[in-house]
Amino acid sequence: MRITCPFCGERELGEFTYLGDAKPMRPAPGASEDEVYDYVYLRDNIAGVMDENWYHGGGCRAWLKVTRNTLTHEISAVEPAAGAGARQVAK
């Protein structure tokens, strides 16, 4: 499997580290225990297309949001994760 880093180009899987589902968002301060429990522990087990966080640690050290089909490993989109590079944060 190869991932096309938006900063570096196409690279081998060994340069990347998998974090997991990109969907969960940190609950607001003061959120209920259930919401925090959900955010920390509960994950969907998606058979199909999902957004995932990957880290290009063996390259430009940017966090990426990769849209991948978990059944076929087909990658349909790669974009910088929120906060990757100073420029993206500014938007």
């Binding site: 570096c8 063996g58 430009c60 990757a84 100073a86 420029r87 944060v89 500014a90």
Partner: protein, 208 residues
């Protein structure tokens, strides 16, 4: 009272033995450690990438590389090292943190990496053959022309790789910046990879 002497030594002080290595005959690869360089990493602060780029332009007189490339400035090379960050490679104290800091005070954070990295230059007939064993980057001349850079891994070690100006004999020159503590390991891996071609080992203080 114990007496100390602080001696600046290359991280390859023990590993590097100048002379021929591996297959006999003419060296197919030349491995040269470049010593005593100044290296500063410049990283844009949050939302300040454009300001950093104009500060760099004002200071160096060239556009800072925003894609994996290098830019040649007067007595310095700017090397892309990731999104909104780059290295300043120079020698002789011309571009150190102290002199760069005022220009970037409002836009970027600077960090001195001069003693944190080892710079290895690879050239010769078999330079690409050696690197092909260590890197998945396509180094074919058309795909990786002079001035191309890459943040990548070799032998599971993060490196910054770029192609410098060709040598006087027209051969391609590849530069690898590696973390100092990983340098000895990568050096041995490079020697093992180059042994079949014959390696000419040396060190130099010449950045060009």
């Amino acid at each position: 009272m114990a007496e100390f002497s602080w001696e600046i030594r290359s991280p390859l002080h023990r590993a590097l033995v100048s002379g021929p290595f591996g297959a006999h005959g003419e060296g197919g690869v030349t491995l040269t450690e470049i010593r005593n360089f100044d290296l500063v990493q410049v990283m844009a602060r949050r939302g300040k990438a454009a300001e950093m780029a104009s500060a760099a332009n004002a200071h160096f007189g060239v556009a800072v590389p925003e894609t994996p490339k290098t830019a040649g400035a007067a007595e310095a090379t700017l090397i892309w090292s990731g999104p909104d960050q780059f290295f300043v490679l120079s020698k002789g104290g011309r571009h150190q943190v102290g002199s760069l800091a005022p220009g970037f005070a409002a836009s970027a954070s600077l960090s001195d990496q001069s003693h944190a990295r080892v710079l290895i230059r690879i050239c010769g007939d078999k330079a690409r053959a050696l690197l092909a064993k260590l890197s998945s980057i396509d180094l074919y001349p058309a795909a990786f022309p002079v001035g191309t850079a890459a943040a990548t891994s070799m032998d599971h070690t993060s490196v910054t790789l770029w192609r410098g100006n060709d040598a006087r004999d027209g051969q391609a020159v590849f530069n690898v910046l590696v973390f100092a503590t990983f340098a000895e390991s990568l050096w041995h891996t490079m020697l093992d990879s180059g042994a079949e071609y014959g390696v000419e080992i040396g060190h130099s203080e010449d950045l060009a």
